[in-house]
Amino acid sequence: MGTIQVSSLGKAYKQYRTRWSRLAEWVLPFLGLRHSLKWVLKDISFRVEPGEAVGIIGINGAGKSTLLKLITGTAQPTTGSVQITGRLTALLELGMGFHPDFTGRQNAFMAGQLIGLSGAEITALMPQIEAFAEIGDYIDQPVRVYSSGMQMRLAFSLATAKRPDVLIVDEALSVGDAYFQHKSFERIRQFGQLGTTLLIVSHDRNAIQAICDRAILLDAGHMAREGRPEEVMDFYNALIAERENSTVTQTTLADGRVQTTSGTGEATVEAITLLNERGEPIETAAVGTRVTLRVQVRLHAPVDRLVLGYMIKDRLGQAMYGTNTHHMERPLEDLKAGELVTYHFTFPANFGPGSYSVTTALTSSDNHLLDNYQWRDLALMFTVANIDSRTFVGCNWLEPVIEIVR
């Protein structure tokens, strides 16, 4: 069974003041060191248990790729160590070792040996690789006539032909077209179910939340957060929006979930309530009934333009529906400090039974990156119950009108 044990891992690159400094250091070692260390990763410790799936997230330059390189062994750590048990496959870059003038089959042989498969194994796996890649007769054509998507298909099929004990994936989830993306994602998920230990780097919130049991947020080479994917993702989103004078806070709610609030605070959500058709506050809505989300916003400073956005997420943090007053063409302008604005969003509760949360965002445009007055996850929780509708499954209520001809 595969495990990954990362112990106080650190990576620093040597930086020399001039090109000559390195020569001096090599030739005259007794005169002391002439380089300074630039730390890109520091003090990373975590353990991935057999069969567990862990996601690693972080902005560009946070050290994700370096961490993966250290774990796969292409780069050597400056401090600490990595221990892996079981057979490791890393999908860091697909199609390494492909030569354009050779056929797909020949390249699969070479590249397969490069990742540690034996010739006999590849021969045995070949029919399966061909079948999964679905590139047809192209398998016996030189790779230079392949489209980049076909190359990726072949490379992915080869790399995942044999289920490893530990699989490391670096944003390779987006392989080829939508169909193959789905297929490759499914294969990774299947590996997980069969007991493969997964370590995934991705920016895709849905992918992380759908597969991972745990997420780790890297920020500037440190482990900024470790926990449930949903909560770490929320923190990550807030972190992206962080500006000089904004703060990110996370508080644990009564039910154990973690609420993330960030923003610069010019405007804040003062109250948020879900109302039924009669205007009474409710916590549970019946499937298909009309509900109104009432949001009261308080201005603390003059704001030129105010946009309120909300997103309804399911229990796993997957987005169900989200919009804002920018997209709905109802932004407000020239607001004074102290003003109170009340919004009513009325919509049918066409959700499947379950618990849902509402995230609110106060911004000046259609995203929260330019100005982030306030971002609040889990601002409101409500449940949807199937009281008088026919039984169905899923997270959307899409009851059909049925017409049958026989």
């Binding site: 690159y13 040597k14 090109r19 390195r22 020569l23 090599w26 390189k69 796969t72 062994g73 292409t74 780069a75 050597q76 890393a90 860091l92 870059e93 390494m96 070792g97 030569h99 003038d101 050779f102 020949q106 042989f109 070479m110 040996q113 490069l114 990742i115 540690g116 034996s118 010739g119």
Partner: protein
């Protein structure tokens, strides 16, 4: 060389042999004549050295009566020098050229220089086989002394491997090494008695040339192939020792710097 490194290389033998084969095939992959080109190219080279020098220019080697004397002398040096230059030249770039692989995949890195050595050896084997055929057909085959070519080749390969490996590692950190050594190789060629006989040069320069570790190696080939003489093994000892020392240095550099190397690529 540690046992672990060796075991890794053995585990990747399929990859090594496959790579050598692929490199060989890649050269003529899209040509009509295919594998024929791998013979035609060296054949042309041998024809130039033999027919042109022997028949057209009538170049003669002092003290050798055979009409092909100088041609054989020239080939004995040029062909083996070609192997040496290819191994050193490619050795110094072996890590830089494969930077992408080294950065993205975890595999025994020692495979790369081994692939390089084997594929240089393969190229040499073809051209040397053609040359041997020429010797037999033209009635200039040296007899039993020919067997001495192989231990001398062995020694030369060790020397070239040690040098190439050391330069290969250094070149990652100091790119000047590669540039510098391309120049050095050119001068080295002319400071080795390949085109001219050693006794044709001025006294003063001759003593310098004798210090050149490639001089006894090339002289041994020339002696064997031109006159059928067994080499003076004693003269080869310094080169052999130097070769072994360079191999040790190369491995030491590689072991100490392999991790840091990836950071520099």
């Amino acid at each position: 060389m540690s046992i672990g490194m060796l075991r890794g290389v053995v585990a990747y033998r399929g990859f090594i042999l496959g790579s050598v084969k692929r490199e060989f095939q890649a050269k003529y992959r899209n040509s009509l004549l295919g594998a024929l080109w791998t013979v035609l190219n060296p054949l042309a080279m041998i024809v130039v050295y033999t027919v042109i020098f022997a028949q057209v220019m009538q170049a003669k080697l002092p003290g050798v009566t055979s009409s092909f004397g100088y041609s054989i002398y020239l080939c004995a040096g040029v062909l083996t020098w070609g192997l040496f230059a290819e191994m050193v030249g490619r050795g110094q770039n072996v890590f830089l050229d494969n930077a992408n692989l080294l950065k993205k995949l975890s595999f025994p890195r020692l495979c790369l220089p081994i692939i390089m050595v084997l594929s240089a050896a393969l190229n040499f084997a073809i051209i040397f086989l053609l040359f041997t055929l020429f010797l037999v057909l033209s009635g200039n085959f040296p007899g039993w002394a020919f067997l001495a070519v192989f231990p001398v080749l062995m020694l030369q390969v060790i020397f070239a491997m040690g040098l190439g490996m050391s330069l290969g590692v250094l070149n990652v950190f100091f790119r000047d090494v590669g540039q510098f050594f391309s120049i050095v190789l050119q001068f080295w060629f002319w400071f080795t008695p390949i085109v001219y006989p050693l006794n044709a040069v001025h006294e003063g320069i001759r003593s310098v040339i004798s210090l050149n570790p490639m001089t006894p190696v090339v002289s041994a080939y020339q002696g064997i192939l031109v006159s059928g003489l067994w080499p003076d093994w004693g003269s080869l000892v310094p080169t052999g020792v130097l070769g072994l020392l360079l191999c040790l240095l190369g491995m030491q550099l590689f072991r100490k710097r392999a991790g840091e190397m990836v950071d520099e690529l």
